[in-house]
């Protein structure tokens, strides 16, 4: 102590000490976040604090868009209106047949004693912005758990499946897109009912259908819909279209590239599906139940 300089220019701990402390704190945070998810409450608070700021920053952008809409020419709007009317008419026809088919389907399913398909209830939401993380495909929507959004709910737009809710805060939610590298969605080829799992491509731009044999019956142009076996996505939602199929004998699996039908760049409005019926209870292990257990066998043996 007697050799230390007088504290005229006391600057606290040396920069190296501070750097070590804060770098260790960062690494600690990252481990807590990535491995154990202990940091969710802290993150919720920070996101909720930052959300009004984000909306404020976005306000001029949105206002500019709205002003552009306002000055859109009358002719454009009339044209669009006519197109929408025609579309609505076509849709109404489909809807009428759909109602008839739905009741017929319910009756037939009743006859077959099959479980009724759940009609998913939906929450309307708007995309606030595409997430700013350049490493991962995510979008943020303007509905949170105060509006009933729950973790894991599927999100669709007018064309098809967009993704899944992966983080919920009070006022906004984060949606991981189907093109995310770690996102998997069980799908079915419409043409022949072949089931598979589509993953986000490694470069984050498309999807691929993995783990299908090299001679699998898939062609370019095939439509893929959700198969619904995961209990998250309701069955029958359009997911994508097969773009390319590489059958290389060197690999045991075909390389099947899929282009998603939904797009963040095309639609601003999305639906968060919810209230899919709970999955049926896991089938009881009948074989085990039938098979007499070792204990009963022993007692049976001991009886005579």
């Amino acid at each position: 102590m007697e050799h230390s300089p007088p504290p005229f220019f006391n600057r606290g701990p040396a920069p190296v000490v501070r750097l070590t402390f804060f770098a260790l704190a960062s690494v600690f945070l990252m481990v807590l976040d990535a491995r154990f998810r202990y940091t969710e409450p802290l993150r919720q608070v920070l996101i909720t604090v930052a959300y009004p700021l984000q909306r404020a920053v976005l306000a001029p952008v949105e206002a500019a868009g709205r002003i552009g809409d306002y000055f859109q020419s009358l002719a454009d709007l009339q044209q669009e209106n006519a197109a929408l009317r025609a579309e609505k008419l076509a849709a109404a026809q489909d809807l009428m047949t759909l109602e008839a088919l739905r009741s017929e389907n319910a009756r037939l399913r009743g006859l077959l004693d099959a479980r009724e398909r759940a009609r998913a209830d939906a929450i309307f939401a708007e995309i606030v912005y595409a997430g700013r993380d350049p490493f991962a495909r995510r979008i943020v929507i303007d509905k949170g758990f105060t509006q009933g959004v729950e973790l894991g709910r599927p999100v669709v737009d007018a064309a098809g499946v967009l993704g899944q809710v992966t983080r919920v805060t009070p006022l906004a939610s984060e949606v991981t897109l189907v093109t995310h590298k770690d996102h998997a969605i069980p799908v079915q080829v419409v043409r022949n009912g072949l089931r598979g799992v589509a993953y986000g491509a490694a470069d984050g731009t498309g999807m691929e259908l993995r783990h299908l044999a090299a001679n699998a019956e898939v062609q370019p142009g095939d439509d893929l819909v959700t198969s619904g076996i995961d209990g998250v996505y309701p069955p029958g939602l359009p997911v994508g279209k097969v773009v390319r199929v590489d059958r290389d004998a060197a690999f045991s699996f075909a390389r099947i590239v899929v282009a998603p039908v939904a797009g963040t760049d095309r639609h601003r409005q999305v639906l968060v599906l919810r209230a899919t019926e709970d999955a049926p209870p896991y089938p009881a292990a009948e074989e085990q139940a039938k098979k007499p257990s070792a204990k009963t066998r022993r007692t049976k043996r001991g009886e005579p």
């Binding site: 750097l19 804060f22 912005y129 700013r132 350049p134 490493f135 770690d182």
Partner: protein
């Protein structure tokens, strides 16, 4: 107080509120939805490095760390990614500040380019370890643009500290 090269004018002391103001503006800039535009410079990193170079006694490493955590939460990325990068960048800026201030604006930009690049590489490394998809080469355009903005940024952020030019032949400095 930094030691200046000959020919540089002595500046007024900085207002701490102005530092906070520039950081807030840069943070809001970073909050804009830049997802689909690649190579956007990280203005918050630029401001942090600038003040760490200019005022190494006012900017520690705690402020950059806290701002980094805020950026992580707002961006929805791994908590600690920006915090680590900003802490290291601030440390490098503080350590090199004496040296950097000795140069003119363009040479300073060349120095901070290295700092920005280290920060970007750190974030890239963290995400690569965490198993994220590759962001593409344009990701590393950000530091270049940030360094190119350095002369302009330092001119703007030093503006409140400049004194009116009054030629006084009798004054020694």
């Amino acid at each position: 107080m930094a030691i200046y090269a000959s020919g540089q004018r002595i500046l007024l002391p900085v207002n701490p509120w102005f530092i906070a103001f520039t950081m807030a503006v840069a943070f809001l800039f970073n909050l804009l939805p830049w997802r689909d535009v690649r190579g956007v410079p990280d203005l918050l990193a630029l401001v942090i490095v600038f003040w760490a170079v200019r005022e190494p006694r006012k900017i520690g490493i705690g402020t950059p760390f806290a701002l980094g955590v805020l950026m992580d939460a707002a961006n929805g990325v791994l908590l600690g990614q920006h915090a680590l990068a900003y802490s290291v960048m601030a440390f490098m800026a503080i350590t090199l500040s004496r040296r950097i201030l000795w140069f003119g604006p363009v040479a300073q930009a060349a120095h901070v380019l290295g700092i920005f690049f280290v920060g970007q590489l750190l974030m890239f490394g963290v995400r690569a370890v965490a198993g994220a998809a590759s962001p593409g080469w344009l990701y590393f355009l950000g530091p270049l643009i940030a360094a190119a903005l350095w002369p302009l940024a330092s001119f703007l952020m030093l503006a409140p500290q400049r004194r009116p030019e009054s030629v006084d032949e009798t004054r020694p400095i």
